[in-house]
Symmetry: C2
Subunit: 214 residues, 2 copies
DNA sequence: GGTGGCATCCCCCAAAACGGGGATCCCCGG
DNA sequence: CCGGGGATCCCCGTTTTGGGGGATGCCACC
């Protein structure tokens, strides 16, 4: 899994981004001692993106939740500004929706903060060697949720649910989205169907809990 | 602020609990160098509680979100098992509801992980000296939310909203709570009033977002 | 002993949502 | 070229909600 032709001694350059000073310190310290060259640190997404563009590191280790710019959107932009940089997400919490969105965004690694720090090094070398790394825990939930229910909504359905969560009625949502109230109802019903909800309220609650809408 | 009669050189004993290895490492390292005696570490709430009971430290620095036992419930139990230990929450995220619940639970300090690590030491000495410490950011939002809208729900209103989020209809909720559907409606309307919501769906969404219900 | 908050129950009525249908259009992939 | 999924729109009858109103008992606080 780890070695794809290059051993652990390979020179790896890395930018770290996390809004928690303790994490930034700990990771920098740990990776530094492990022979990784830390070429930049950042406390928010924008700062991280600048560092990545400037230094074009092999790996960028970033938190998902950061001020100004989240890790996933950061990954999308980094793909253009630094095509050779592999993004690894290092985060405290991860669900299926987030993981799939991250992988779509081109993220190459996904490590949970609750994992032993060794995994960090493993992930770094995996992606630096051209591979990918997903935390075993997440990999498990991903596999588990593959077989069961998908419950992924269309863009329109998400739009409608979000406005529903903001307290708008069907016709108000219709005006907002330039469609008729009847169509809104259709979307709501489809969403309720997919989310296996008995009421629109439950559908919104499910979508919120599963982070399908914010 | 810091010295309440004792200078910074005071001997302070401390137990640290966090499920993120990096945070645990960084905090232990930092506090150790600052002269704080780390008498125990834990990766989850139960482990932390055992350590606290065993060592009766002056301070316990714990994360809010931990496996098995959250930081707030931990604080409640620690108050009985180790009355002389002051609990400081060190967490990545904090909203008003959480802060007030924490203070109710007897938590003496509240520090955000995004704050400079110096604040950690400041908080530790503050609570070890008998004082309290709340992160400036949280203190701000607390003050801000004092003046504006309260939005605190009664137990019954929370009950109803939670069941609403689970997709139950009024009469189903009534059966569940042994009250009439009319009373359920009353609670929903009161909750909508307090949350300034136009629909019950929005009320549930607000309650979920503000962590008034889970 | 009053006042206010909480929980409980009841009524009415207009408006909205629900749960079934069915229907058209467009686009993409087999 | 046809199927299927997505987005759009429509109808009908039943049920629920939203927004008013009022009423009772209880308990705590002043």
């Amino acid at each position: 899994m780890t070695g794809v032709g290059s051993a652990g001694k390979t020179h790896v350059t890395c930018v770290i981004a996390d809004d928690h000073p303790a994490v930034l310190e700990a990771v920098a310290e740990y990776l530094g001692q492990a022979g990784v060259e830390i070429v930049g640190r950042a406390r928010d997404g924008e700062e991280a993106l600048e560092q990545i563009e400037q230094w074009q590191p092999q790996v960028a280790l970033v938190d998902v939740r950061m001020p100004k710019l989240g890790g996933i959107e950061l990954a999308r932009r980094a793909a253009r500004l630094a095509p050779d940089t592999s993004v690894v997400l290092y985060t405290g919490y991860g669900d299926r929706a987030q993981l799939t969105e991250a992988l779509d965004a081109g993220v190459r690694g996904f490590v949970l903060k609750e994992a032993p720090m060794d995994d960090l090094l493993r992930a770094l070398h995996a992606v630096a060697g051209g591979g990918t790394y997903v935390d075993p825990v997440l990999a498990g939930t991903l596999a588990a949720s593959m077989g069961s229910k998908d419950a992924q909504l269309t863009q329109r359905e998400r739009d409608v649910l979000r406005l529903l969560a903001d307290g708008l009625a069907n016709d108000e949502i219709g005006k907002q989205l330039f469609i008729s109230a009847e169509t809104v109802r259709t979307h709501v019903r489809k969403a309720m169907d997919k989310l296996d909800a008995d009421t629109r309220t439950q559908a919104v609650a499910r979508a919120l809990r599963d982070h399908l809408i914010s």
